[in-house]
Structures are given as C-alpha cells and as structure tokens.
Symmetry: C2
Subunit: 368 residues, 2 copies
C-alpha cells in the first residue's frame, strides 16, 4: 500500500480511549460510568419506543436528505431546512467541516485543552493548529479572535458552554465575537451542551450569518450518544457545501426516528435538566466534603479541582478508575489540575463519594 | 467562508437520489421498494430483538474499538481482529480508504458504470478516475490490471459479484488478478453481495495479503441497510491505518448489537437466500413474459435488458416509477440498456409484473 504523504504522517494515537477498553484492562465493568458526559438518565421513553419500532424497518436505508428530521429541527429552531445539516454526531460533522475549510498547511485556531477530536480532524486534513490558553478556566474569545486574525485562519473553534471545564460565556459575548471575526473566517461554535445552559448563554440564531456554524447534538441532554445524531445550523451556502463531501447514506434509520421523537418530548428534557442540576449539586457537595473546589458548570458535568498539579489529578483519576468509577480529565495545564465528573444517578454518585477519599489518600501518599 | 480549492471544485451532485425524495415528488409512497438492493425480507428476528433491546442503552457511546463485533467477525471469517475495520456501511469505509490512499492528482482505476459512490469519494479527495469498459456485462480484470499498471495507480476498484449488473467472476480469477497487481497497488474488492454468490465466486481469505482489502456489509443479505454497518478485511497494516482517520465514536450502539446477533443467525441467512433465489427466478419470468432478457445474477437483484438503448430503458424506468415501482438502472452505456430490479416479496413483484407491460408500452410509444 502507498499511503498519501499526509496519511503516512498521521499518528496512530486516538482522541479518547473508550471505557470499554478500560473495563477489559481492569477485567471488570465500571460501577459508575460518569466519564464521557453521557446522559445516564437515558433517552426519552418516546425516543426508545420510536427506535425499537424502527428496528424492524432497518432493512431500508434512511432518507439521504433527512427531510423529516431537518423539517422538525427547522421548526424547532425557527430556521429553514436549508440551514441544517445532519451527521454522525458532532464528531462526524466536525470532520466534514474541517475537510471543507482546511487543507495541508491551513492555520486553524482553538484553545489549548479544548476538544481533542476537533484537533484530530485538523491534523487529519493537514491543518496547522494554533492554540491560545484558557483564561480563568474559560475559553478566551479575545485571544481566539487575535490569533485568528494574525494567522489568517479560515476556522476557529470555541465550545460554549465549554468542555472540559463546564464554564460559559454570555450569548452577548459570543455574538460580539462573531461580529468581530475577520473576513472569511468561520467560528465553529460547539453547543453540544446548550440544552443545559442558562438561556442568556446562547446567542440568538441568525440563519443569514455566514461567520458561524453551530453544532448541536442528541448525544447529551437527549441521552442518545450511541445513536450518533448531531446537526449543524448555519448559512445555507456553508450548509450546502456539506453535501459535496458527506456520506449521504450514512445516517441510521432507527436513530433518525428516535431523534424526531426526542425532539418532541419537552417533558423528558425538563426531567433530565432537573436530574442533572441535582447531580451537579451533589458532585459539588462530595467535592467540598473532601476539601475540593468545583467550577460552576453550564453542562452535564462538573470540573473538580483536585488542588494540586496535573500529575496529582491524574493520580486521583487513576484511583477512581481502579475503584470502578469511570471519569476523565483535561489534558493540558493548568486545566489538568481538575477531573471531570459527569452527572450521575444517586448510585453512581454514591460510588464516586465512596471512592474519592480513598483516591485522594492514594494520590497524597504517592506525592508525599 | 473559504472552502479549500478542492472543496470549491467539487460538484453539488450526489451519487444517488433516495426513494423518499422521489416519493415526495410523486406525492405518494412507492407500492414496491425494489430499487436500492435492500433486503425487503428484513433483518433476522434475533437482530431486531437485539437492536430493540439496545435502544434503552443508547445513552452510551458504542465501544470505539468495536471489540466484541470485531471478535465475532474474526471468528466467523477465521481471521484476527487486527484484520478487520468496521465503519458506517461500505460507503463510509470506501471514503476512508480513498482518503488514506488518494490525494490531489492520484490516479485511481475502476470500470465505467461501476459503483458511483466510490467515484464520489475519489473525486472528493482530488483523485483522477481512470475507467475501463465492462466486457460482456462483466467487469474486466485484465483491463483493470493494465490500466492500473499504466497509470501507476495505488488503488483499483472491482465489485464481485458486480453491481449494477449482478455478474460475477470465479474466486480463482479474482485471486489471479490480485497476484498480478503491480507493486504497491491495492485492490478494493467490494463483496457487498458475497452472501448471495456461489461459493466458488469468493476467493479464500488471505489475511497476510497486502494487495487486497475486502468490503463486506450487513446492508444486503443481513437486511440492515439502515443500521449502517460495514466492515473491511485486509492486511493488519492497512487496517490499522484506518484508525488514523476514522470517526472513532462513529458507530451506532444498536446496530453493533444487531450485527452481532445477525452474524449468529445462520438460519435467517439461509431463509433470505432462498427467498432471494425465488424472487430472482420470478423477475426473470416476468421479464420473459414481456419479451425481455435478464442477466444471470449472483446478487439480490436482476439486471433486465430492456432491449433498446439507454434512453429507452430510462423511459421504462420512468414508467415503473410513475406506477409506484421503485427501481434503478445503470448510468453508462452499454450497461444502461438495463434496469436493475431488486429481489422483492410476492406483492412487490406482483406490482412490478403489473406495471412492466404498461411501462414498456409507454416507452415504445414515446420512441416510435
């Protein structure tokens, strides 16, 4: 085989190791799966019923135009179907967005410690990543703007609310950032956690704005991570470009049916939001009981500051994983002093509460 | 937005229009959906049960390593998991294969009239397609070899059994072709229809052979097109390269569960094969009753020679579609004298039998 020079240059590393691989290494299942910001509260019962009903119809490909789902999403958001593209989770859409805008040598801007899968795609298409640091555990729009302008980058990434820290900016601050983007630059605004954020954190949708594309997903609040449905809202011209590169018959028929049902179940979304709010409060209590600070979060997870450096937090994380509690953590200093704990059900958080003091003790021992 | 020069150069056309778009244009559903080589006989009941049961667990991402599915596939085929990569249908895997081997200007060889989605991916990564004609309604290994050698192409595509004609080569002929490939060239051997083919049409699997990668799918005989699960079997080095570019969390949790269940249900596969054989015989009878010849097929569809040129066959197809019978046809002469009819249940083929004489009469009228 003769890989392209670009493919041959790519590392064999992957953005995230799955919890299943860790379970195989541990030779037992996790007691609590609160590491991937999945919604342990599950999908809407209506979505489950729709997916189960669609299982017997799965001999048919899904409609490659996703007409019904796009119509439902357009009505939901008050935009037109031409403003929406659907893909295999935000991860899949990010890959195609990068493919459309980034070639070998193209500069792309993001924050050091932000979503690794975005960086994976940028590297995968030969782009050159330029990073700016977080500022007080928040992504820094001013620094991102400056770097975008300086590099002449066609693409800049920001998540609001942020992952992995859970912090957020006001919608007004984001709108202002969009308004100040240099000509031709596009903001990839990752709003995977928008459903958990306060209303004033989300800028109004402007379907005529060419400088931003907004990523949404059924993986988080809708509890359908394994169904792989994300979508992006943007200017019709950029949205139409996805049709030049996407896998037109790539969507799952069961998932599409589930997404339409989930979108209509407002009560379930309200229920999940309440459960998440309660779980986040409990995570903060557990942390406080162990003398640890937590960051305010507009997502379904909480960054817990372990009070030391990255190595110390990694030792805490390892101690939790050894005790059957799956959590993850940021990879870049100074964010990496934290571990990231997803909202869990009471038994999940009981397991976290039981394991945390022991994990801290282990970490303190190995650092003394 | 600033599309890359490559993205800006791509056409807005798509490989296939879905039947749903046609139904929206017709303002009524098709009576018979026998155009996309889906398995109207459905998935295994065990697969349906597994997918329905997994619907409530879909809050979890699927294992990004697909450990259990790859283990099951490896056992089934007598290879190692390192020989297998899994993706969102063969379409998704073809995209990643092309991405690994093809850059701007790279020559790629296929047959004129073969699978358009492969060509879509080659264009999408800037490759330059070189085509050779079919020979007696079969892909022509000798001509493909010659073109590959002449062009210095790193990638050549052949489907066995073939789509859209349904014809096939012996496994011995394919093995011989692989053995004669020029150094560094890889044969993308699309075996989507292998489950319908006679045993001697499928060359033995050789997991140490670096010159071929074999595409398989749950979309055809397993009746799970809308579940989007394909896989490729090849040399561990080429298989490992997919991990550099694939969407690691791209697979659907319900589909993975369904695929494992389907793989174990040999009885259902036998049942589907019998139904398909009966349906193909009936399609040939219907064609013969209308004075039309059919091609022998090792797939789940039959190419029906409409007895005229491409325009005449298109008129026949349009007449069928107008009467609620969804079929497709090859796009390149001389293959395009045929329409392609997928195996259907008796009521599907009743609808085809009723519509065909009228469609032929219409086509004859418009051509006289």
């Amino acid at each position: 085989m003769r890989l392209t020079p670009l493919a041959a240059s790519l590392p064999a590393t992957v953005p995230f190791v799955g919890p299943e691989a860790q379970e195989r290494a541990l030779r037992r299942p996790f007691v609590a799966r609160i590491g991937a910001n999945e919604s342990v509260f599950g999908p809407s019962p209506k979505a489950i019923a729709a997916m189960a009903a669609a299982a017997s119809e799965v001999w048919m490909y899904a409609d490659p135009e996703l007409h019904d789902l796009k119509a439902a999403l357009a009505a939901h958001h008050g935009v037109r179907p031409q403003n929406i593209t659907v893909g295999e989770g935000i991860d899949g859409i990010l890959g195609n967005l990068v493919r459309l805008l980034v070639g070998p040598g193209t500069p792309v801007v993001t924050s050091a410690g932000a979503y690794p899968t975005f960086n994976y795609h940028v590297a995968g298409f030969g782009g050159v990543l330029q990073t700016v640091p977080y500022r007080r555990d928040q992504e820094d729009p001013e620094a991102l703007l400056l770097a975008t302008r300086k590099a002449g980058a066609p693409l800049v990434y920001l998540a609001n609310p942020d992952n992995p820290m859970g912090t957020w900016h006001s919608g007004r601050a984001i709108s202002e950032m969009i308004g100040r983007l240099p000509g031709g630059a596009v903001l990839c605004l990752d709003e995977a956690y928008a459903d958990f954020a306060p209303d004033d954190a989300i800028p109004p949708l402007d379907p005529a704005e060419p400088r931003v594309i907004r990523m949404r997903t059924f993986s988080k609040a809708h509890g359908m991570a394994g169904a792989r449905i994300g979508y992006a809202i943007g200017h019709p011209e950029l949205i139409a470009a996805f049709d030049r590169v996407r896998n037109h018959f790539g969507m799952n028929r069961m998932s599409v049916a589930g997404a339409i049902a989930a979108l209509g179940d407002h009560a379930w979304l309200g229920h999940v939001r309440e459960e998440v709010a309660a779980a986040k409060a409990r995570i903060a209590e557990i942390a406080a009981a162990n003398g640890l600070r937590t960051l305010l979060s507009a997502t379904n997870f909480v960054a817990v500051d372990c009070g030391g450096d990255g190595r110390f937090a990694t030792a805490v994380l390892d101690g939790l994983v050894r005790r059957g509690v799956f959590v993850r953590k940021p990879g870049v200093a100074p964010l990496d002093r934290c571990i990231r704990v997803s909202a869990g059900r009471p038994p999940d958080l009981d397991a976290f509460a039981a394991a945390l003091p022991e994990a801290l003790a282990d970490a303190n021992k190995s650092h003394s």
